[in-house]
Structure formats: C-alpha cells, structure tokens
C-alpha cells in the first residue's frame, strides 16, 4: 500500500513538473545569429552557481519561432518567462514591467534609458528589459576581390552610385554573378531610403505616403537589379515579406559588396575565416546623408511569468555592467549599456584581424544616422512600412508591377494594416 502511495505521489509530482513552473524555474526563449547562445549559457551557468535556488533553462530556437510562434503564445497568455526578441515595440503589451521588481530601477534608467522607449507602449515608463545588442545597418566589402580587380575601395563619403560602380567593375573583372546584394528586408533598405531623403513618419505620427526619397533609392535598386548589378536571387526568389539574407553569397565571394548590418560581423568572421579580407564600410551616402538604421535585439521579461521575482533577479544579473561588457566582447555585438559605451575599452574576443576595425567602423557610423532613421525603431508602424516595401518592391523587380503601381499599392497596404490594427 505504501509503495502504491509512493508511486502515485511520484507520478503526481512528475506530472506537475511537466505542466507548471516551480518557484525558481525561469525559461528563456533565445535565438542566435552567431555564438551568443553559447556565451549566454556560460553566463547563466555562473548565475545559477551563485543562485542555486534559481534554475534557468535556455531554449535555443530558430529566429522564425521568435517571429511567428512567440506572438501567438503571448496572445494566449503563455510563453517563456524571458525572451530575446526583435519585434520589440509591437508586442510591448506583453512585457512585464520590472520597475517594482529590480533591485535598482535608477541603474536601469541611467544605463538603458535611451532604448526603453523602443520596448514599452507609448507614454509608459515601464522597464520591460534591455537591449542585448545595438545593431546598425551598413555595408561590407570583400577587400581581397577589390585588390585582385585593381579597383580602389570607395572612401568614407562615397555615394551609393560610387559603390555600385566600383563593385560592378570588380564583378566584371572577377567574373562574379553580381556586384552587390542587400538583404530582402524593409528594414535594410530604409537606411538608404533615408539617405536619399525619405521620411516614413507623417506630422501626425502616422505613416506618410511614399515620398521622393524612397522613390529615388527604390527606383535605383530596381534599375540595378534589372541590369544584373544587384543579385536577383535575394529579392526576387520569394513572395510576401519573407526575410532573406544574402550573407552566404558574400561569404562565398560571389558578390564584392554586401549591405546588411553589424550583427553579421561574428557570422562573417566565423564563416569566412582567413579565406579573404573584408571590411565594414558604413552606409554609402546620398543627398541627405550616409545613414543606416539602428535596431537590435532586446531581452524582455514576459508578464505571464509565474516567477516574476526570480525573473527580475536573472534580468538584474544579465544587465550588470560587467556582464553586458563580457557578453558584448565575446559575441562581437555593439553594447547598448551607457556605462559600457562611455567607459569604452571593449576588448573584442576574436583572433580575426577584420573584426576589430569592422566593429569600430559601425560604432563610428552610429553617429552618422539621420533623425528620420533614428525615429524608426520606436515607431509603431515601422513593420507595416517595411513589409509593404519588401512585398511590392520585389514584385517590381520580378516584372509583375510597375514602379508607379507599386507606390499606390505600398500606400494602400500600409493603410489597410493601420485600419486593421486600430
């Protein structure tokens, strides 16, 4: 009889363990672009050693899971306790306000104040989390290919036309399939659009109609694609707003110039190794400036957690200055912590000679972004704009739409999404 009772008790305990969170259990949903999954696990192991009453489980998932499945879990009032996300503003209603839970809210405000608006509902003073990294869109050039072709790398103030012309010469000389590629993403083409004078945000804070700045750069992009200067595959070989990176084409030395962002540094370093030399170029210039768009990934607490106090302890630890510094140095991500940035002296953990100068270039380029670009990360309708741009511009590149028709469609798509979300 006693044995039966013991067995039943064990069964009940294991059932409970599989269905609900115990005090002290914290689950983090995490995605990785490079080595950050290993780094954060290492840091969490140290945290658990210091805090044996808290067990942190790191669920490494694909980025697609974060983008597509997490929002549905959150809508259902479920999900992990903490998540690393890029869709920061739109899901802000699901983040936990850590202000009453963290040890020192002032520390959070002092060090993350600039970016807290990116992750909280408009008008709120909540502390939902912190940016694990800042990103900035920008270009990369295959220095070895340029040298082999005898084409000098365009300088700091080179325009988009200069870069495409130089890259085209390299592609021709080295018999490459294209001169350059930009990731298939509305976020990625927004820096160039802003550099050409675009402003997505109307005076009332709502989406403005497609303006001449956007028309100028997108018109060039379509033209470059038609001429075979931009790699057609990345944008044309998908429908809708599907994200496609062109990193593999750059890594395989198929294109001499690649426009993506700072988060690619670790990826390029790992995969290119010493196959060729590469440099970060910043964002090419145009009539309004040489702007990229800032962004990044945030680690946020989820308000449906059953263990808010433990979550706050984990977040407090991960937001510590020394931890953020170590995380940035080992992952090669730009830090978003004011104390870390102000003190400087980051020692990037990489034997790759291309990495340090590339990250320094991005830090420098971060000071050159235009106000119209800086306004995008905390703007609620940025994703609506990005999605409409990608969908319609790729249709134009595929020959399904004219540019004139595309402008009308982009405006209509955005208006529909605004109406639907209201």
């Amino acid at each position: 009889m006693n044995k039966t009772r013991t067995l039943l008790a064990a069964l009940s305990v294991s059932l409970l363990a599989s269905t609900s969170a115990f005090a002290g259990d914290v689950r983090i949903m995490w995605y990785s672009d490079g080595v950050e999954g290993d780094v954060i696990q290492d840091i969490l192991n140290r945290f658990m050693k210091d805090n044996p009453d808290i067990h942190v489980t790191l669920d490494n998932v694909a980025y697609k899971v974060i983008q597509e499945q997490l929002p549905i879990q959150l809508e259902a009032g479920q999900g992990p306790d903490i998540a690393r996300v890029t869709n920061i503003k739109e899901l802000a209603q699901h983040w936990l306000d850590l202000r009453p839970l963290v040890a020192d809210p002032k520390y959070w405000e002092d060090n993350f104040a600039d970016r807290l608006d990116w992750m909280r509902p408009d008008g709120s003073n909540a502390i939902p989390g912190f940016m694990t990294q800042l990103t900035l869109t920008g270009g990369f050039a295959n220095k070895t290919l340029f040298e082999q072709a005898g084409v000098p790398l365009p300088g700091d103030k080179a325009t988009w036309d200069d870069w495409v012309k130089a890259a085209a010469e390299v592609a021709k000389s080295q018999q490459l399939p294209a001169a350059f590629a930009i990731d298939r993403s509305g976020h990625r083409i927004s820096g160039p659009n802003v550099s050409f004078g675009a402003n997505y945000i109307g005076p009332d804070g709502m989406p403005a109609k497609v303006d001449d700045g956007t028309k100028a750069f997108v018109g060039k992009l379509v033209d470059w694609t038609a001429k075979g200067l931009m790699l057609k595959d990345t944008w044309v070989s998908a429908a809708g707003s599907t994200y496609r990176a062109a990193a593999d084409d750059f890594i395989n030395a198929q294109i001499p110039f690649y426009y993506s962002g700072s988060w690619q540094v670790a990826n390029l370093s790992t995969k290119i190794g010493d196959s060729f030399d590469w440099v970060a170029t910043g964002s090419p210039c145009a009539i309004a400036g040489c702007s990229g768009v800032k962004g990044g990934a945030a680690l946020v607490a989820i308000k449906y957690t059953k263990n808010p106090k433990d979550v706050a302890k984990v977040m407090d630890y991960l937001a510590r200055e020394d931890v953020v510094k170590e995380f940035s140095e080992r992952t090669l991500f730009l830090p978003a912590h004011k104390g870390v940035v102000d003190k400087g002296g980051l020692k990037w953990v990489s034997a790759d000679k291309n990495v340090g100068p590339a990250l320094d270039k991005f830090v420098k380029a971060a000071g050159e972004t235009l106000p119209a670009a800086d306004a995008l990360p905390p703007w609620k309708w940025a994703n609506a704009y990005f999605a409409a741009l990608v969908t319609r511009v790729s249709q134009v590149m595929a020959g399904e739409l004219s540019l004139d028709d595309a402008w009308g469609r982009i405006d209509q798509d955005i208006a529909d999404k605004v109406a639907e979300a209201k």
């Binding site: 983008q67 809508e75 044309v236 429908a239 809708g240």
Partner: protein
C-alpha cells in the same frame, strides 16, 4: 503436446489475460447498452470516439474559423476582436475585373487564386497522365518490378520540406543542375528566379513527390481487371491502343476518379514543398492560396487572422464544390457503365 507448444500456449494465454480481463469489464455496460438501444445504438457507441475526435479537431476549428472571418483586428482571442460581419469577404472579393488582379483590392489573394487555378489544371493533368503511365508499366512483367514499385513510391515517404530542400539544392543558382550544365559546356541558368522555370519546377516537384501514391491506387485498379477480358481481346486481334481505350480505361474509371479527386484537392492545398522550393517567387508567380493564408495569418509582420480565415473559408467552399462536381461525374459514369 510438446514442451515448446505448451510454453507457446502459456505465453499466449498470459498475454491475452489482460485483454480478456478488460473485455469482461467492458462487456457488462456494453450488454446493458445493447439491450437498451439495439444495434443502432451499438453503431453509435463505436462511432462516438471517432466522431468526438473529428468534432474537436476538425468541426470545432472550422466553426471557430468562421467566427474569426467575421471579425477584424490583430488580436487572437475572439473576445478581443471587433465584429465586422462580411467585411473581410467584401475586401477579398472587391475586384473590378476578376481576371485582372491589378483591379482587385486584395490583388495578392487573386494572384494566388489565378496561380492556384493554373497549377491545379497543369499539375492534376500531368499527375494523372504520369501516374497512369507508371502504373501501366509497373503492371507489366518487367525485370525488378517490385524494386521499381518501391522506387516510385519512395518520394511519398519523404517530408515535403525535405523534398523542397533537395530540389532547391538542385535548382538554385549554385546548385547541382547548373554544375552539370556548366560541366557540359552550357550556360548556367537561374532557374528559380525565372517565372516559367519556377512554375515548371513547382509542378514537376509536386508530381515527383506524390505520383507514387496515385500510381499505387491505379495499380490496384489495374490488377482488379479480369485477365480473361485481355485474353479475349488478344484472341480477337484487338490492337493495344483499342484495348486500352475500350477495356482498361473504362474499367479503371472508378480508380481514376479517385485519383483525380484526391490530386485535385491536394493541388488546391499545395503549400509546403513549393514554399520551401520557391518561397512563392519569383515575385508572386508561385504564390498559392495556402501560402497567402499562411502569410496573412501567421508569417506577416502585422498579422490579419480575420482576412486569413475568410480566405480559407472561400478556399474550403471551392474545394467542396469541386469535390461535389467530381462525385457527380463519377456517379453518372457508374450509372452509365451499369446501363451498358
């Protein structure tokens, strides 16, 4: 009885004991139920679990989907959504000319409808012809017949994602096909960014992936045709083509109809392997209805579950109509056959 046989019987009885015990427990209420409700009640009893599963996982989601289609907003819970009646349907059907997608408010939906229509016509025709030809060949006395049957059925066992990835690696710019073309001295082509070739690839890959299943159905039908009919035709000196048209095809018609109906339904629902293969591109030339619904409902940066639900209900209605038409044609064929 030998010791081995005794042991075998003992093991059999031991294994059967829990089943017998369970049956004796179930027997009591079942007897009572049969007495109370008769044989009709027993049928209902045995159907109930299946119907419950069907209800929970098919019927209830369908009803919920219908409610979603009458609401708007980005929230997922029905209580958080705004009732808008038939607005989502009006938005989908708002079109100046249904043949010109540029005149439609939801032009991507109509692109997907047109693309799906073309895909269904070409793919189902090709699938039927290829499956029929394969079944006819595999029904003959060829060397290694069992091996070839397994070979043609093998792709059916593959996950659609695996199928899509395999063919993507073959057809992409730096893929296997271009490597072969290059080695043979030809000019490599960007197959998946060319509208014609992307469509051709989508159709061919889906035929390759599923024809084994339909071949099996047709093969079963061919083997059920009495041999004496062919022997009689041979004795009469009937030409092979006439034998096919006058004996094989009419007697295979029920199986053929099943194949066409199943292939049609599957083709209208095409998604996974083409999504992985082409992503719906180039442009929107391989964007099909299911992908449109998926993108709008789940993958888009700003989701619209109401519009996606409305589109899925319209797609469901088309499937119901197509199935009814096919069944009607099948019944007419059977009645005609019976009269003859």
């Amino acid at each position: 009885m030998t010791a081995a046989a005794t042991l075998k019987a003992g093991i059999g009885a031991a294994l059967a004991a829990p089943v017998v015990w369970l049956a004796s427990i179930v027997n009591v209420p079942l007897k009572f139920w049969q007495r109370a409700t008769g044989t009709g009640g027993m049928a209902a009893f045995f159907l109930a679990p299946n119907m419950a599963i069907f209800g929970i996982f098919v019927l209830v989601p369908m009803i919920i989907n219908f409610f979603y289609s009458a609401t708007s907003g980005t929230a997922y819970f029905l209580q958080d959504r705004t009732y808008v009646g038939l607005e989502q349907y009006q938005r989908l059907l708002d079109c100046g000319n249904y043949l010109d997608t540029a005149t439609c408010h939801e032009d991507l939906f109509w692109k997907a409808v047109h693309n799906t229509g073309l895909f269904v016509v070409v793919q189902v025709a090709l699938m039927t012809v290829v499956s029929m030809a394969t079944a006819l060949i595999l029904n003959r006395e060829i060397v290694g017949r069992s091996f070839w049957r397994a070979v043609f059925f093998f792709p059916v066992l593959l996950s659609p994602v695996v199928t899509g990835l395999i063919w993507r690696w073959i057809l992409q710019r730096q893929g296997l096909l271009n490597l072969i073309v290059h080695d043979l001295g030809g000019e490599p082509h960007n197959w998946l960014t060319d509208r014609f070739w992307a469509f051709t690839a989508a159709v061919s890959v889906s035929v390759w992936a599923h024809m084994g299943f339909y071949t099996l159905i047709l093969l079963a039908g061919l083997q059920a045709i009495p041999r004496d009919l062919y022997e009689a035709a041979e004795m009469d000196g009937t030409k092979p083509a006439r034998v096919f048209w006058r004996i094989t095809l009419p007697l295979l018609m029920p199986n053929l109809l099943v194949v066409i109906v199943l292939a049609l339904i599957r083709a209208v629902q095409i998604f996974d392997e083409v999504y992985v293969l082409t992503g719906g591109g180039p442009g929107t030339s391989t964007l099909y209805i299911t992908q449109y619904i998926y993108e709008i409902g789940f993958a888009s940066l700003l989701r619209n579950p109401g519009l996606a639900s409305a589109a899925s209900i319209l797609m469901g209605l088309v499937l119901v109509v197509l199935t009814l038409v096919q069944l009607q044609v099948g019944r007419r064929g059977e009645r005609k056959g019976a009269r003859e």
